[in-house]
Homo-oligomer: 231 residues x 2
C-alpha cells in the first residue's frame, strides 16, 4: 500500500460515491475528487460532496461547471416531476425520467482528462447495477466498454505509461452491502445527500427512488438512515 | 434523402469540421452544430465556427463552456510554446504537446448527450487519421470503440430506438482530398481557422503543424490557402 498513487474519484455527494471515496483511500490511492455543477435541481448534493471530501480528506476537490440544461431531456435538470412512491416495489420498470442523457459518459470523460493530467489511469465511480434506478450507464457492460475506449483515447494509455482502469467497486453490491462496507470504513452517512427532490433546507423527500433505496439499505442493516427527512 | 433527420455536428471552426458540416448536409441530415469554449488560446476559431454555421446554414449552433484549464496539461490551453516549422516534414514523431487530454472523448460525450435529447443517434466528427498531428483520439480504432461504448450508454440506444452512429467521413482522406471534397460541396475555406497560434487579428502563423498541413493540402490542389497569414 502506497499513499502516492493518485486516482480521480467521481464524487456526487451521495451515499454511493462517499463509500467509493473511502474504498479508494483504503486501497492506498491519493484521491482527487471531481464533482459537477451540471444544472441539477438538487445542488444541495454539491454541498454534501464538499462536506464528504473535507471529512474524509482528499488531495484536491474540483467542481466543474458544465451546463447540460442547454440540451434538456431529464427530470434532474428540467422541470419534470420526480416520481414518488412508498416502497422500492413501486420503482418503475425500465429507464426512469430522472435519467440524464449520457451523464456518466460525460462525467467519466472529464475524469479521464483529469486523470491524464495527474499522470494516472485510475478512476473510481460509484455505479451500481443491483439497487439502482435502471440507468443504462450504470451497467457492467457500459463500464467495460468505457474502459476499453479510454485505453485508445489518451496519450498516456496509448504510449503504455498509464493504462486506464475504471474502478467500480460497488457494481455488484446491494445497497445494504454498500452501506455495510462504508460503515466498516468509517463513512459518515449523515453527510451524504441522495434525494432527487430535496427541500430548500436539504431535507430529503423520502419518496423518490433514491430515498426509497437508501432507506431500505439502512433498514436491512438494522439501522435508521441518519439523514434528515421531511416531516 | 430526407431533410428531417437531425445530426449533431462537432464544429471547431477549422477546415476539417467545415467540410464535415457540408458532408452531413449533403447526406440529408439537419445539422445541429456543437462547439466548445474550453479554455483554448485560439478562441478565434469559435468566431470561425459561427461564421461557418451561418454561411452553410444549421438548425441550431450551441457553444458550450467547459473549462479544461482546471486540469492543465496542453499547449492549446496552457502557456507552453506551440511547435513551429517550415514544412510538414518537420512535424515531430509521436504525440505533440498540443494534445489536449481526452479532448475528443469529452467532445463526443457532449455530442452524445445532445444527440439523445434531439432524438437522434447521428454524430459527425472531423477526425482524420492521415494528415493529422498524431493524436490518439483521431484514430479509427478510437472512433469504433467510442461508438461501441456509446451504444451501451444511452437510454435511446439501449432501448433500440436510436442506435449511435459516429460519422467520421474524413478518417481516411488526405488533407488534399478533404479540401477537394469541400470545394465540390461549396465550402468557403476563407471562413475557417485552423492555426494553433493565431495573431490577435486572426491571421494564421503559417508554421504550426496545423498551418503546415492545410497549406500543403491547398498546394496539392494547385491552390493558395484563402485565409490570411501573418507577414
Amino acid at each position: 500500500m502506497t499513499s502516492s498513487r493518485p486516482a480521480v474519484v467521481l464524487l456526487s455527494g451521495g451515499l454511493d460515491s462517499a463509500t467509493v471515496l473511502a474504498i479508494a483511500k483504503r486501497e492506498g490511492f491519493s484521491p482527487f475528487a471531481l464533482s459537477f455543477r451540471y444544472g441539477q435541481r438538487h445542488a444541495i448534493e454539491l454541498a454534501a460532496a464538499e462536506r464528504i471530501a473535507r471529512q474524509q480528506g482528499v488531495e484536491r476537490h474540483v467542481t466543474l461547471d458544465i451546463d447540460l440544461r442547454q440540451f434538456g431531456g431529464s427530470a434532474l435538470t428540467a422541470e419534470i416531476a420526480v416520481p414518488k412512491g412508498e416502497s422500492v416495489e413501486q420503482i418503475g420498470e425500465g429507464i426512469p425520467v430522472t435519467y440524464v442523457p449520457a451523464r456518466n459518459t460525460v462525467f467519466l470523460s472529464f475524469a479521464l482528462a483529469y486523470a491524464e493530467t495527474l499522470g494516472t489511469g485510475h478512476i473510481f465511480i460509484g455505479v451500481n447495477a443491483l439497487d439502482y434506478s435502471g440507468y443504462p450507464d450504470c451497467r457492467p457492460e457500459f463500464i467495460e466498454a468505457y474502459e476499453r475506449m479510454a485505453n485508445l483515447a489518451t496519450k498516456a494509455a496509448v504510449e503504455g505509461t498509464q493504462p486506464v482502469k475504471i474502478h467500480a467497486p460497488l457494481l455488484h453490491l446491494t445497497k445494504a452491502q454498500i452501506i455495510r462496507r462504508g460503515l466498516d470504513l468509517g463513512v459518515d452517512y449523515s453527510l451524504t445527500s441522495s434525494c432527487y427532490d430535496p427541500g430548500n433546507d436539504g431535507a430529503a423527500c423520502g419518496h423518490c427512488d433514491s430515498c426509497l433505496l437508501r432507506q431500505k439499505g439502512f433498514a436491512e442493516n438494522g439501522m435508521k438512515d441518519p439523514i434528515r427527512y421531511r416531516a
